[in-house]
């Protein structure tokens, strides 16, 4: 659980760093499961950008411990503090980056923050700082007005200006650097602008993702748009359009939270209906 001031911090700046939330034995299990998943990757599955990124879900049978973190109260409890008791745990990803940077971007532009709310916990599996791939954020840039301003800034990598003034390199944008040690978590809003600079060729990160349950017609429409968004995201990593492995959907331990989330995910269309 986090304090009221930390909740306010997250809502104000769009991110929050939590120190020492995973124990060394938990990190070992995550590392082991990460290696199993990575061994199944090949170049055909690498994302097509300077990030040179592999991305896969942790909800399959190879990573039961990492998948269980989504249902760990240390994490979904934080999501409940931010989005209410009926928030949804929706995914856990593993990411391996082989590029030296991730250009500036928010994770989602449409639907906008008036229609959708979500965030992810990120766990970097090696120490990272400003020159070795730590997450960089523009604090407060999850707000629509500020985000629109950042959108106007020319960025060399992915929003270049004219040849004589191509714009800023990743490390030239004024940002906060989320220095992190293994065991720390960086939480960030999907709409906050973020990047990384100077990462190694084997930078490893695991995420847990949570959505706010829609309360208004606008938010309901936003959630429907997210179904399309996520299916397209999967295509970018050459994955099948089915978002959830049968292993996770089977919920073999009858986890109550997971059962509620599966019901919600089916309702919104993230999980295809079972044809009798």
């Amino acid at each position: 659980m986090i304090t009221e001031q930390q909740v306010y911090f997250f809502k104000t700046f769009g991110f929050l760093v939590l120190k020492n939330v995973l124990a060394p034995d938990e990190l070992n299990k995550i590392q082991d499961e990460f290696s199993i998943g990575l061994a199944k990757m090949d170049e055909s599955k690498m994302g097509a950008s300077v990030r040179k990124q592999y991305n896969w879900t942790n909800l399959g049978p190879d990573s039961p411990f990492t998948a269980s973190l989504l249902e760990d109260e240390r994490f979904y409890g934080v999501a409940q503090q931010i989005y209410g008791d009926d928030c949804m745990g929706v995914d856990s990803h593993a990411n391996q980056y082989n590029g030296d940077r991730s250009p500036w971007h928010p994770d989602i532009r449409e639907p906008g923050p008036d229609q959708f709310s979500g965030f992810k916990f990120t766990f970097y599996l090696a120490p990272v700082d400003g020159n070795s791939g730590a997450l960089r954020v523009v604090p407060g840039s999850h707000r629509p007005g500020f985000s629109a301003e950042v959108e106007k800034v020319f960025l060399k990598d992915n929003n270049p200006g004219p040849d004589d003034d191509p714009g800023l390199a990743v490390n030239e944008v004024s940002a906060h650097i989320c220095v992190s040690e293994p065991g720390d978590a960086v939480i960030f809003d999907y709409f906050v602008w973020h990047s990384s600079w100077g990462g190694s060729k084997d930078r490893r990160m695991v995420s847990l993702q949570y959505y706010k349950n829609p309360k208004t017609p606008e938010e309901e429409e936003g959630m429907r748009q997210m179904v399309t968004f996520r299916k397209n995201f999967n295509k970018g990593f050459k994955r099948v359009t089915k978002l959830y492995p049968d292993f996770w959907l089977a919920n073999p331990n009858n986890n109550v939270m997971r059962a509620q989330w599966i019901e919600q995910l089916q309702k919104w269309g993230f999980i295809d209906p079972v044809i009798a």
Binding site: T3, Q6, T12, V137, G145, A175, H176
Partner: protein, 263 residues
């Protein structure tokens, strides 16, 4: 001539600050350092010997600091201010500051409808560990600016996110008064020269904000000013008949920043 390119203006408007590199030459820096040192020695002579190091602020608009007194009219500075705010901006100070230790998070905006820009030139190399200027990028804009008032910035469990404006002598950092800023880990002899500009008020609220700024400035300078008035008769005399300076003086008199007896 436009001092900043379009991207620099966008950067400033987006993030509330910008760093301009190598604005001052070595020769100019030597003059700035000499004038700073001379003024500081005079101030320290007037202080008790056993006084612990403290923040000193003094005006550079007197005859003993000829180079610094002309900084507001230096086209690299005033035309940049005009480009960022409007042709009607008014230079209201050229100050030196000898800072001591940390400066906590704050803005320089005293009234929600009072707007200004500060040009800050640090005379020593600074990074995030030894007192460089830190900003919360974009914090000059509402509603972000107001939400920060509720962050417990002195709470040891809170790490306020910041960008460190590492700078070398000769650089200038320009920031919007409303931008949240601070400095941490500085020495007991951190040297900075500043020039401030206020936006000419255009609405009744901005006029009220400007009058409020007069009161605030008097209170602030009563606390930190080491000696003398902000507006030396030498500067107010405007011996070279600079039209720009005269416009500023007239404006400063109109709003009460310059009292009639100071003329």
């Amino acid at each position: 001539m436009q001092m900043l390119n379009e991207q620099q203006v966008t950067f400033f408007e987006t993030f509330g600050f910008i760093i301009l590199r190598k604005v001052f030459s070595e020769e100019e820096l030597a003059k700035m350092n000499d004038e700073f040192e001379t003024s500081l020695k005079i101030i320290q002579r007037e202080r008790p010997d056993n006084e612990p190091p403290k923040h000193f602020n003094w005006s550079n608009l007197g005859p003993e600091t000829p180079f610094l007194s002309l900084l507001p009219e230096d086209t690299r500075i005033c035309e940049t201010a005009e480009q960022l705010f409007s042709k009607n901006v008014v230079a209201v100070s050229s100050n030196s500051n000898r800072r001591v230790g940390d400066t906590r998070w704050h803005t320089d905006q005293s009234h929600p409808h009072s707007y200004g820009l500060k040009f800050a030139a640090y005379l020593q190399p600074l990074n995030s560990d030894n007192g460089a200027f830190r900003v919360i990028p974009g914090s000059h804009k509402q509603p972000f600016n107001d939400t920060l008032k509720h962050i417990e910035m002195d709470n040891p469990e809170i790490t306020v996110p910041y960008y460190s404006c590492d700078s070398a002598p000769g650089d200038i950092i320009i920031f919007n008064f409303a931008t949240w800023h601070s400095s941490w880990g500085g020495s007991f002899d951190r040297r900075m020269c500043t020039v401030d500009f206020y936006k000419n008020p255009e609405t009744p609220e901005e006029v009220e904000g400007t009058y409020d700024q007069v009161i605030v400035d008097e209170k602030v300078y009563a606390n930190i000013r080491a000696s003398g008035s902000g507006f030396h008769p030498h500067w107010l005399a405007n011996a070279n008949n600079s039209p720009r300076r005269q416009r500023w003086i007239d404006w400063l008199r109109k709003y009460g920043f310059v009292k009639s007896e100071a003329a």
